[in-house]
């Protein structure tokens, strides 16, 4: 029997991703700097972002340009006329009692990006809308929130520009949601609109339902890993309810990152009425006449770069994908590939260096491209073995230093063929039994002899040459 398209148990996920435009020179509606992360609390404030009586918002044009860039990169349709609204609700972190956001007439709608589907193949995820809004202040608690006797409010974050990217419910698994975030983050990094390493740079609300069922919303997940974990938890929770015949209630839930669980915040009945209405202090905005200029200013995006890498450098799709997954990594590759054979570069950077970096939790900036070029040059000149090259990379990452010095200090220069021949002769002389086995066609014996030669040459012999010489001497096949 064919599976119905949405049989109960199918997972449906939609995401709302808040991205802080923390690279701008000022906040969304005032001149204060959004680069508050290392600052004392409440030092990046003014009457506007403190919501003092009489202060008025003035739109930061740079935020609009960034939002249009993101929308274009997500293949959205930019709206001709865009409007700001007041979203009215009371909360401690909201100094005006409302948040200036977009409601009807967001800056862009109807986009899509493709991600690798969990079951293989590309999947298109539709983007419902992209809009601009201001970030609230930050509440700080002494100790855990439940035990804190008071909340401290830091208004440094208040008024920082955010864009919100809202997907259609097109994602089908927590892994796919994470994959979507990776693709989005990659695009945002290329556009240079945010620094994801900073507090609050990216926050996610997720809607989850089992097909046909009621959906719940999990709010304020602030890490990529958290999104996958929160979604997994929520799916298991919902499935368990269904299995026990309990109705899922439409509600908003909070994700507790430390405990890895979601907790009910409020149910549908209490859902807020935000009393949206157009912000009278800001005039409607037309961006049409600037779209072409902005489009032209867009940098090469990950997809395009990946295709170019395959075509221009002849490297594999897989390598191209790894190398373009981070902007700085792709730049690193291009720097190296301009000096060294691109295919060799790609292999060493994507397979070896990236793995060593990941293992140490380091970024590509931890490794200077000139060192990679040097190592590959020495390797290509057959002066060190691949194994030694890996050793050099590891040493640089662990202790620093120049490749040439490390090779010298560690004596990694590849041994001459005559030295290898000498070691081969010794190995044969010292291991008659193995030699006999080898002549009888036992492969393990050949390997054993090779190991002996490598030992004598301290691993600096080229395995190909060792193999060749052994076979010549033993005349085995």
């Amino acid at each position: 029997m064919l599976k119905s398209r949405k049989e109960p148990g199918d997972v449906i996920i939609g995401l709302e991703v808040h991205v802080q435009l923390n690279k701008l020179n000022s906040k969304l509606f005032c001149g204060c700097s959004p680069k508050y992360h290392d600052a004392e609390p409440n030092t990046h404030t003014c009457p506007v972002c403190l919501g003092l009586p009489g202060a008025l918002p003035v739109l930061n044009e740079g935020a609009v340009v960034d939002a249009v860039k993101v929308a274009l990169a997500l293949n959205c349709k930019i709206e001709e006329r865009t409007l700001f609204y007041r979203k009215n609700y009371y909360y401690l972190d909201l100094p005006k009692g409302f948040q200036i956001s977009q409601y009807d007439y967001p800056i862009a709608i109807d986009g899509k990006i493709s991600v690798n589907g969990t079951g293989g193949g590309e999947r298109h995820i539709r983007i419902r809308r992209v809009h601009i809004e201001e970030d609230p202040a930050r509440l700080v608690h002494k100790g855990p929130i439940e035990c804190s006797r008071y909340s401290l409010i830091d208004y440094n974050r208040s008024g920082v520009a955010l864009i919100e990217v809202v997907t259609e419910p097109d994602l089908r698994s927590p892994k796919e949601a994470r994959e979507f975030l990776n693709v989005l983050r990659n695009i945002l990094e290329y556009l240079d609109v945010f620094d994801e390493s900073l507090e609050g740079a990216l926050r996610v609300d997720a809607n989850i339902s089992l097909a046909g069922g009621t959906r719940t919303e999990v709010k304020n997940i602030s890490s990529y890993r958290g999104v996958e974990k929160a979604l997994l938890f929520e799916i298991v929770r919902q499935k368990n309810l269904v299995r026990r015949g309990i109705k899922i209630t439409q509600e908003t839930r909070h994700y507790d990152e430390k405990r890895g669980v979601t907790i009910s915040l409020r149910t549908k009945e209490e859902e807020q009425d935000y009393r949206y209405f157009p912000e009278p202090d800001l005039v409607p905005l037309g961006v049409c006449n600037r779209i072409d200029d902005i489009r032209e200013s867009l940098p090469e995006l990950p997809d395009t770069k990946r295709q170019r890498f395959v075509q221009q450098y002849g490297i594999s799709e897989y390598h191209a994908k790894v190398l373009t997954s981070e902007l700085r990594l792709s730049n690193f590759f291009e720097t190296v590939a301009s000096e060294i054979d691109p295919i060799l570069s790609a292999t060493w950077i994507a397979d070896v260096l990236k793995g060593e970096l990941n293992y140490r939790g380091l970024g590509i900036s931890a490794f200077p491209p000139k060192h990679m070029i040097q190592i590959l040059q020495i390797l290509r000149g057959k002066n060190i073995t691949e194994k030694s090259a890996v050793q050099v990379i590891r040493t640089i990452l662990d202790r620093g230093g120049e490749p040439a010095d490390i090779i010298k200090q560690k004596g990694l220069i590849k041994v001459e063929e005559s030295t290898i021949a000498k070691a081969v002769a010794e190995a044969i002389k010292e291991n008659p039994a193995a030699v006999q086995d080898c002549r009888n066609g036992k492969n393990e014996a050949l390997h054993f002899l090779m190991g002996q030669v490598m030992k004598k040459t301290h691993g600096r012999a080229d395995p190909n040459i060792v193999n060749k010489l052994l076979k010549e001497k033993l005349q085995c096949t």
Binding site: P47, L50, G51, L52, P53, G54, A55, L56, P57, V58, L59, R86, N88, Y90, L92, P95, K96, G97, F98, S151, D273, R275, Y276, F277, P280, D281, L282, V283
Partner: protein
Amino acid sequence: MNVSEAKKRAEDESVEEVVTSLFDNIEKSELNAFITLAKESALKEARKVDRNGAKGALGGIPIALKDCISTKGIETTCGSRILKGYVPPYDAHVVERLRAEGAIIIGKTNMDEFAMGPSTETSYFGPTKNPHDLSRVAGGSSGGSAAAVAGEGVPIALGSDTGGSVRCPASFCGIVGLKPTYGLVSRYGLIAYANSLEQIGPFACNVEDVALLLNVIAGYDPRDSTSMDKKCEYTKELRDDVSDVKIGVPKEFFGEGIDEDVEKAVWDGIKILEDVGASYTEISLPHTKYSLAAYYIIAMSEASSNLARFDGLRYGLRLGKDEDWHTTFSEIRAQGFGEEVKRRVLLGTYALSAGYYGKYYLKALKVRTLVKRNFDAALKDVDVLITPTMPFPAFKIGEKTDDPLALYLADVNTVPINLAGVPSISVPCGFSGKLPIGMQIIGRHFDEGKILRMAYTFERHAGVRC
């Protein structure tokens, strides 16, 4: 005292003398025109001018400011208990302009709480009295500023006008008051009641001083997105000549509820202008009758949102007993806001809430568009419109406080102008007994020059002065 008299006295005696005698007047006065006096800083400024000589267009001229205009270092309460003790850390744009031109801020004037009302009776600090009859209101919501000019000898003052709040008290107190075109004067630092409607406007005893003050406060400000670069030299527009002006008289503004004396005084005024060369025609603004309803829905909706920030957490009223923030916050608002403010916040919240937004708020916006079109069409055929400012002279304190709806009706002739965003000036045009009557001259967008010239010409020929 007008500006040239103040200048003369300052030359003959000193600025310090002028300011000191003003404070004497105010302190002796029963009008309750001021909430806060900035005596120390004003006298210091005055002595500085006496030492260094007067600089700027308003060098050494004392000015009173409505208490919803933010002044750095001077308490600003908006006539509300909830803002008691709030000292803004910054100056409003107009205050920066005034200081730059040498004006001396003598204090903050009484007003309807958060500018809500046509009588200055909703002020937490008690009503302001009418200088012409102490048992009557001075008008609102800028009643304190108008009474200070009319009754206490302050040469110039600023108010704000959301639905008539400058023109109403100007009319009731017998002085000149102007509501500029929306966008001409920056609202930066004006504590908002209804952002899309309000403008800061000047008061003075005569048209010339109003023009002089407008010269100073008008002009582009990058901190207000609705601000426009449309300023001109208004004092240069003041010529005794209206021969090129076509006046339109909209019949809807002379309708039911209008006082006989008022109607007669305004018609007499129109006649005077006709006698000196202007022509007039009767016209119609058919959507005027919906203006009041639309105005109140828009104003209250915006107010409900604007007033959400007043929670006592960061500034203003504190009650000293802190419970969880919901309770503390509710308690502060319950005690900090007066009845009229609560009424309007609740009505505004209701009008914006899901399910009613389309029925009320969106409809009000549609009416607003129609009213605007009425004005645009009318002002294509004629240069200015003339109407009574208020349908009646100043009423008795307490007379209408029990009936909010009757009070709202008082704004019937002024609110359509705010919906349309056009400029409008109220000039004294006669008396009903001892109570002044105001005539309203409405102009095209940014055509302040023309309505000031009309008012100036009228003032010279009608001879009604404060």
